[in-house]
C-alpha cells in the first residue's frame, strides 16, 4: 500500500519537475504574449489592427494630442517606447511614472489606440499580498482543526471532533 503510494508520488514528482524544467527552458520561445511584444517592434505590420494588452510605465504625457509615451513593463525584458492614443478615454489625471494596464489596437510601428486603460496605484500590488497573508491563518486554522499528521505513518488523520 505504502510502496504503491511512493511509486505514484515519485511518478507525479518526476512529471511535475519535467514540466517545470520544460517551462524554464521554453517559456520565452513560446509565450504568445511575449512573442507579440517582440513582434510589435520587429514586424509591426503583422500585428496591424490586432488587440494587444500590456502593462506599461508612462514616460511622458501629451495632453494636446491626447497621447502617452510609454514603455512596456515586461520583466526581465525592456522594450522600446510606444505611443498610446487615449482619445475618447478619461486620461487627464495620468502623469509621468504612473503604471497603467492597457488594452488597445495596434496601428503601425509603435502606435496603439487604447480602448481600455486602468491606472495601477502603487499600493495595489502590495494590497493583494496583504490580503493574501490574511488568508493564511484562515486556511491553516480550518485545515489543522480538521486534520493532524501522524508522523509514524505520514498520513493526515481526521481529528476526533470531526469524525
Amino acid at each position: 500500500m505504502v510502496r504503491r503510494r511512493l511509486i505514484i508520488g515519485l511518478i507525479l514528482l518526476i512529471l511535475l519537475i519535467s514540466f517545470m524544467v520544460y517551462s524554464s527552458q521554453e517559456y520565452y520561445h513560446n509565450d504568445l504574449q511575449y512573442k507579440r511584444y517582440t513582434q510589435l517592434f520587429d514586424d509591426p505590420g503583422a500585428l496591424n489592427n490586432t488587440v494587444l494588452s500590456f502593462s506599461a510605465i508612462i514616460q511622458s504625457v501629451d495632453t494636446t494630442n491626447q497621447t502617452l509615451q510609454v514603455f512596456l513593463k515586461t520583466d526581465p525584458f525592456e522594450f522600446p517606447t510606444v505611443e498610446i492614443s487615449t482619445r475618447n478615454l478619461k486620461a487627464q489625471s495620468l502623469k509621468q511614472g504612473d503604471q497603467i494596464d492597457v488594452i488597445g489596437v495596434v496601428h503601425g510601428k509603435g502606435l496603439i489606440t487604447a480602448s481600455q486603460l486602468w491606472l495601477v496605484e502603487p499600493w495595489e500590488p502590495a494590497a493583494v499580498y496583504v490580503r493574501s497573508l490574511l488568508a493564511i491563518p484562515f486556511i491553516a486554522y480550518l485545515f489543522l482543526s480538521t486534520w493532524m499528521l501522524d508522523t509514524s505513518t505520514w498520513f493526515f488523520d481526521r481529528r476526533k471532533k470531526h469524525v
Binding site: L12, L16, S24, S53, I103, A127, S132, L134, A135, W154
Partner: protein
C-alpha cells in the same frame, strides 16, 4: 491574480455548497498560487525562477501537485477530488479577470495559449471582488447555520 482571501472564501463557499471536505477544497483553491514561491527567490536571492514555477499555476501542474498532496491522506481519491474541485474554482475565478499578461494557460503543456473571459475589469478586482465574496460567504454561513440548527432539532 486574485488574492488568497478571495480564493479561499470562494473555496469555503464551494465546500459548504457541494458538501465536499471544506478544509481540502480550501487548500485546493489556493494551491495553484504556490507558484508565487518564485517571489521569495526573487526578493531574498535575486534569482528569477518565475518561468520554472510557472507550470504550478496551470490546471495540469496544479492537479499533479494535488495528486501528490492527496497521497498523504488515507482516502487519497476523496482528498484528490476535494483538492481538484478547489483548483477548478481557482482557475474559474482567475479566468473571469481581465489579465493584461495574456490570460490563464489552461491547456499547458499542450498549448501556451492564455485564456480569459475578462468579465471583471482590472479596476474592480482590487477590492470589490473580495468584498462581494466576503458578503456571499456571510450569507452562506447564515443559511448553513440555520439549516444545521433545523437538522439538529429534527434529529
Amino acid at each position: 491574480m486574485s488574492d488568497w482571501l478571495t480564493h479561499s472564501l470562494v473555496g469555503w463557499i464551494a465546500g459548504k455548497i457541494t458538501g465536499l471536505e471544506v478544509s481540502l477544497l480550501l487548500l485546493g483553491s489556493v494551491l495553484p498560487d504556490i507558484n508565487k514561491i518564485y517571489l521569495v527567490f526573487q526578493w531574498v536571492l535575486n534569482i528569477r525562477t518565475d518561468t520554472f514555477f510557472f507550470p504550478l499555476h496551470t490546471p495540469f501542474g496544479a492537479l499533479l501537485l494535488a495528486g501528490g498532496v492527496a497521497l498523504f491522506f488515507r482516502d487519497a481519491l476523496k482528498a484528490f477530488l476535494s483538492l481538484g474541485v478547489g483548483i477548478v474554482f481557482h482557475f474559474t475565478l482567475d479566468v473571469l479577470l481581465v489579465e493584461v499578461g495574456g490570460g490563464e494557460p489552461l491547456l499547458f503543456p499542450l498549448s501556451w495559449q492564455g485564456w480569459q473571459l475578462g468579465v471583471i475589469p482590472a479596476s474592480d478586482y482590487d477590492l470589490w471582488i473580495t468584498l462581494y465574496v466576503l458578503i456571499a460567504s456571510f450569507i452562506v454561513y447564515i443559511v448553513y447555520s440555520i439549516f444545521a440548527k433545523k437538522k439538529a432539532r429534527s434529529s
